[in-house]
Symmetry: none
Subunit: 139 residues, 4 copies
Amino acid sequence: MANATSSSELSSSRVDRMIAAAVQKSEELGVNMNIAVVDQGANLKAFRRMDGAWLGSIDIACKKARTARLFDMPTGMIGQISQPGESLYNIEVSNQGLITFPGGLPITDQQGTVIGAVGVSGSTVENDHLVAQAAIDTE
Amino acid sequence: MANATSSSELSSSRVDRMIAAAVQKSEELGVNMNIAVVDQGANLKAFRRMDGAWLGSIDIACKKARTARLFDMPTGMIGQISQPGESLYNIEVSNQGLITFPGGLPITDQQGTVIGAVGVSGSTVENDHLVAQAAIDTE
Amino acid sequence: MANATSSSELSSSRVDRMIAAAVQKSEELGVNMNIAVVDQGANLKAFRRMDGAWLGSIDIACKKARTARLFDMPTGMIGQISQPGESLYNIEVSNQGLITFPGGLPITDQQGTVIGAVGVSGSTVENDHLVAQAAIDTE
Amino acid sequence: MANATSSSELSSSRVDRMIAAAVQKSEELGVNMNIAVVDQGANLKAFRRMDGAWLGSIDIACKKARTARLFDMPTGMIGQISQPGESLYNIEVSNQGLITFPGGLPITDQQGTVIGAVGVSGSTVENDHLVAQAAIDTE
């Protein structure tokens, strides 16, 4: 069956719930977000730009999701060690551009395997992170 | 109010209906599609990859939507005049890559103004076009 | 265990056997090849350039492997329908460059699911295809 | 004979030994690495991604190898003088992206001539460097 996904794959139905949760959280916060979801291979699975969200955040949301999957960690963690003088300084020029401030989080399956990532951009990095976390918190 | 859109803008609610219609049409046809929607500025508004859809069609769906808005016409029309010997030969290398076969259609408002475009990729170009048309046919 | 791969994942040990088989076939044919293998997400898993192989074929081998996974079919099949006047004319400008002549083949697991692809470049397309097929034929 | 390499060229057999040594060192350290080797022309000669290694380190390993050959020095040395206020500040944006933290080392022949480089990415920069050094230490 063409639509079948293995248990560890990121299904469209879960992605729908993630984006709905992210939009709802954004509305609670009163912010307009770009929300991107990538799959296990770091390839785009879904994207949503809320009305009024920054155009410049389209690419940033996509890059946050991609970055979180490429290194299987929150984007903000990479940012802490890519500062001047730190061990991964200027890692951002790799992979056709990484975003290393908060707003990107890995998605795991029930065994803890990373099966994708979500990236959010459009407000402060604190809000971006909160909205990404709301997406992750869906079942 | 941050979420307000002018009458000629492509709202998230319309985009949601377009993508839902495209998914429904894809399911009727038994195909797995990538569906992209861009706004008046040719910037990505929403994207959906159905489970099992080709990875290579992510970029093609986005480029079809972008191409249709960049020239305000169905992508297939450009393809007819970009063949060897024709007037727009190899226009595809412009704009960081155009896709000029069917599956991209402009979205117009009630006054006929182009306010965005939809791009579909994942099956034959005939099916891609049918699914894009189903998205356009939503109110 | 960090090295664990699920049954449908492309393991390093299989990739090693694939590359060894490709090199052996190339030596039988008396040609020097570039051989690339990508995983399920179309990300590079392994690459080998035989001594004396064309430098220009590094990128082509990688793009053949990527193309075969992006569309889950032999690269040469796409080339047949991307000719002038055909339905996918100039699809090659998408995905940061596709290669649509023979030499790229999908890798499937025992259930027939595509879990990666191999791309070979360095000789005639007939030889490229033969060497890719030798890699696929390994268990 | 097409397979012949001059004494100062980086042969496939040496590259095989380098990658095997790098994999062995990685296993000793309990880490999953991406390992890239480039030749005298800074063109990719071989690449290996161990099972479970970060996807984002594919590009970084390749860029470390490339960077080490482009400037004939360990990548970490460049990083020291590319910090804010230093003489090569932001050199990373050149050459389609350099990586200037440790993990890339030049390969020399017996006369000390640089004939290529190895790049390793997938763990701390200290581990990346140790694994690159293990590759260099092969005969």
